[in-house]
């Protein structure tokens, strides 16, 4: 073979390889998680705390991504990722959730399967170890979407879910935060309407602001999207207050026709702006890219005085994460080799 000919063949091979790398994965698998947005700044963080948060995010990413890698569904992946964060007391969901005015954890969660779409949610439960699993049971074993309070726990018992005492959720750190919040002023029913941003008075000793929530969105090999969100809500919140997390369209949304979104932030703003559905509606009806849709919705949230962030994922595997708070605990892992966790502004992802 002549030398130029070898070069041509080598060049063709190189181009082919490059093309293959670019289209590396025509059917990518992707998992995106968040562990809450809020006052997350380097100045407030210690090295061990930061390492612990990163480890917590890595554990959730690993649990969810393993499901996808083994060919599991996006629904199973988001459940696994959220359950892992619910069990981790650092995050405001499940064990270690923030405490309401009465000193109890009062938990909300939602899950949505973009293939259907189907959805399940629970709000204001106090004895369910993993609210995301109960939300999933509501979706799969009841004709309903949202069950609240004692009725939701009655349903849990009927499904063989073992209830746990309220003390299971309580941690020393959350008790301290509640005391600080109470000292700063009682949760007043007659405080000003939430058209102006509530003061960030729930700043906590753990470096996590008031807006902790955990969530995940995933895309599986079969091309199905799913979203899940779980939270303890606000420290010192009024008993019965429900935020955006368990509300389909507000804090959680997934539809194979558009995208999957999980939100975290000042829930009342997310409810009024129907944030999660709005991202997907802009993507679908205005033909924006996912990043542009998320950018618009976060800007709109900013204009209305609200604070928080979203993670979003479309069927092509495009990922968008954005927030207008100081930071957001977050992570991304996909089959194109992306594997990142972050918490501060300016960091990847």
């Amino acid at each position: 073979m002549s030398r130029p000919r070898v070069l041509v063949i080598l060049a063709v091979m190189a181009v082919t390889l490059l093309a293959r790398a670019a289209a590396a994965d025509p059917r990518p698998i992707v998992l995106v998680i968040h562990g809450g947005a809020g006052v997350i700044e380097r100045a407030r963080m210690t090295a061990p705390k930061e390492a612990a948060f990163r480890a917590g995010l890595e554990a959730a990413l690993a649990a969810g991504y393993a499901v996808l890698e083994q060919g599991g569904s996006s629904l199973d992946a988001v459940t696994a990722a959220v359950r892992t964060m619910e069990d981790d007391p650092q995050f405001n969901a499940g064990r270690g959730a923030v405490l309401n005015h009465e000193g109890d954890a009062e938990l909300d969660a939602a899950i949505m399967d973009g293939n259907g779409p189907h959805a399940g949610a629970v709000a204001s439960v106090r004895h369910v170890k993993n609210p995301i699993e109960l939300a999933r049971l509501v979706m799969e074993k009841s004709p309903h979407v949202l069950l609240v309070g004692d009725g939701a726990e009655e349903f849990a018992l009927g499904q063989g879910v073992v209830l746990v005492p309220r003390s299971y959720f309580r941690t020393a750190a959350r008790e301290r935060e509640l005391e600080e919040a109470r000292a700063a002023g009682p949760e007043r029913a007659t405080s000003p309407p939430a058209t102006s941003p509530p003061a960030t008075r729930h700043v906590t000793g753990t470096g996590q602001g008031s807006m902790g929530t955990v969530g995940a969105v995933a895309l599986d090999r079969a091309g199905n999207l799913a979203a899940a969100t779980s939270t303890g809500g606000l420290t010192n919140k009024m008993h019965g207050r429900v935020g955006d997390s368990p509300l389909i369209g507000a804090g959680t949304f997934a539809d194979n026709e558009s995208c999957a979104v999980s939100g975290t932030g000042q829930g009342e703003y997310f409810i009024r702006e129907v944030v999660a559905h709005d991202v997907c509606a802009r993507l679908r009806y205005r033909h924006l890219t996912l990043a542009a849709a998320v950018d618009e919705v976060i800007r709109k949230l900013q204009r209305s005085g609200g604070e928080g962030g979203v993670i979003a994922l479309d069927r092509a595997g495009n990922v968008a994460l954005d927030f207008n708070s100081a930071g957001m605990y977050r992570g991304v892992r996909d089959s194109r080799g992306r594997h990142e966790v972050g918490m501060y502004r300016g960091e990847k992802p």
């Binding site: 949505m112 259907g116 779409p117 189907h118 959805a119 709000a123 204001s124 009841s142 004709p143 309903h144 979407v145 949202l146 069950l147 609240v148 309070g149 004692d150 009725g151 939701a152 009655e154 349903f155 029913a189 007659t190 405080s191 000003p192 309407p193 939430a194 058209t195 509530p198 009024m238 008993h239 019965g240 207050r241 429900v242 935020g243 509300l247 389909i248 369209g249 507000a250 949304f253 829930g267 009342e268 409810i271 009024r272 702006e273 129907v274 559905h277 709005d278 509606a281 802009r282 009806y285 205005r286 209305s304």
Partner: protein
Amino acid sequence: MSQAAAVHAIAIHGGAGAVPRGLLSPARERALRAGLEVALDGGYAVLDHGGSALDAVATAVRLLEDDPCFNAGHGAALTRDGAAELDAAIMDGRQMRAGAVAAVRHIKNPIELARRVMEKSRHVLLVGAGAEEFALEEQFVLVPNSYFRTAERLEQLEAEQRGQRVSDLVPPAPQGTVGAVARDALGNLAAATSTGGMTNKRPGRVGDSPIVGAGTYAKNGVCAISATGHGEYFIRAVAAHHVCAAVEYRGLTLQQAMHELLHVILPALGGDGGLIGVDRDGRLVMDFSSEGMFRGARDAAGRREIAIY
């Protein structure tokens, strides 16, 4: 079903469902129509006197809550344990403010508590005992649960528990819900919805009515929507916000957007029901995919109608 734009306008519904013609006795049909007229004219009077869209929808819904013919407030459908458990939401399209309550059992007019949540709390949605605690702090007088129970609803519950379809017996069907949308002379939009939910429902079940974006939504310059029907489907479709997004982002008319939701999107999911809406110019649209919807519309251009089928 839409007409020329009007300065101020209001539409109401008293639930959608299986209402086969001929099943309603003449006396009952008269009572239902009279109830709709009272609510429609009550809400319209607020607008006519220069009142806000928010006051108009709150007034119309309160009147429907107080009328035992409709599934909201007094005469609400009963849960499987025989109690009334009520949900309501209100939204002000001017400031995009909203308030809602769910699973309350002792609030005479849930729509008034929803409004109080909007105006006096930092929150949007309060549920269960916590919502009632807030009501007490706001000087609401709680009523016993028996206030809501009527002989007819007990009969429906018993029939349902025997396995008979409630809708075969006494209308309004289990999907009954009440709601109102309005536009005032200043162009402000508002929506309100209130319900007892499904007959024989599991305690704690919350439908679309109190969920902003699902059963209730209002945004100035776009539209205001109140839904009634099989709530779970309306939640999954984020129905009310979906309609407004289709108007705002795709430039559909309100009528087109509502038609698509009710006759394309919801049937694909397996659900049915109805919607009432008002657009930025005061055009009222009422549409449904069920057999009937108790409804009424009135505007400053002289339209005034009450209909069931």
